[in-house]
Amino acid sequence: MNWRGALFLGVMAALAGFSLSLVHQATAPVLRRHLLAAEEAALREVLPGAATYRYRTDLVKGAAGGKVRLVGAWEGIPSGMVYLLDSPGYGGPIRVMVGVRGGRITGLRVVDSAKETPGLGARVRESWFAGAFLGKHDTGGVGGIASATVSSRAVLRAAETALNLDRRFGRR
């Protein structure tokens, strides 16, 4: 056995772990601030006009497991709901945030489409596509994107799911 080598590596690993815990401690608060600010900004974008947003753990836990998964839900105070959904796209789940008030979509944002093909499926992130959902109470009038059928259908399905969820849980 090479005890000297093992001992050396052990000591080095301990030192590396200690240094990393220091870096983690230094960066964690900054990271948390960023994430909270980003979440708040996204909520404001899809559901404008609410004073605060309350996270609804009960909805997320109770959601039935269909093809589209509910991964987050916020209640806008005084009115409106925001749903965060994972919808299966071409390369993996596409994460979509949808704001609904009075049965109509107030805003839609594709939060993560990193697994979609650049230049094709990833075009669901383009703002004109999200704009097509504004004010809609069903997704019948929204067309897909040419050569991005699967990815744009995934976003459509997410919007549909959000509207369905809102019919069940949304406050009038």
Partner: protein, 198 residues
């Protein structure tokens, strides 16, 4: 100072040593992506190279490579955390290629072939030079692909090219475009080098 310039010129990691080809091909869909991955590599190399050099007399040679990888992994994890906290947008774009810097052969190659045989200052300069050369190459490849694919070039939020000079062509952002661009840029670099030497 020769250690510093070598990485930018005649021993450029991308165009001359052909190290770190995986991120070179994968993240260079835009100039700024290549640039920021390059910055990550500069940071990692300027931590690992001097440390490897300082530890070169105490590291038992039988566990030399695991010890280097341990150092590299720790440095990359630290840089990964810093990017996540301070450059969240870039962190999302670079994705898996930031942590994969652990196995970027450029970093292990500089530790083994240079830093472990030279004093800390020249090891640091070598890491800086290699990192800068890598950044330059990735920004160049990324810039060419960005222009050819989307007909635009942005760095630091500013648009560097009027729109409509190149018609957007999708293939340059897709994986084959990476290979084609690297080949073309390499041909250009070789051509220029030959012309300069006369």
């Amino acid at each position: 100072m020769a250690e510093l310039w070598r990485g930018l010129g005649k021993e450029n990691p991308t165009f001359r040593l052909f190290l770190g080809m995986c991120p070179t091909l994968a993240v260079t869909t835009a100039a700024r992506n290549g640039f920021w991955l390059g910055v990550a590599v500069i940071l990692v190399l300027s931590i690992t190279n001097p440390l490897v050099s300082l530890l070169r007399v105490v590291i038992p040679s039988s566990v030399r490579l695991p010890a280097f990888i341990l150092l590299i992994a720790a440095a990359v994890t630290a840089v990964d955390m810093l990017f996540h906290a301070f450059l969240p947008g870039m962190y999302a774009i670079l994705g898996i290629y930031l942590p994969l810097t652990v196995v970027n052969c450029l970093i292990l190659a500089r530790a083994e072939s240079f830093a472990s045989r030279n004093p800390p200052l020249s090891a640091w300069l070598d890491g800086l030079g290699m990192g800068l050369g890598f950044t330059l190459a990735l920004t160049l490849v990324g810039g060419v692909r960005e222009v050819l694919a989307g007909g635009k070039l942005t760095l630091g939020g500013a648009s560097l090219l009027p729109r409509g000079i190149f018609p957007p062509t999708l293939i340059w952002t897709l994986p084959p475009g990476a290979f084609l661009t690297l080949g073309l840029v390499l041909a250009l670099v070789n051509y220029l080098e030959r012309r300069l030497k006369g």
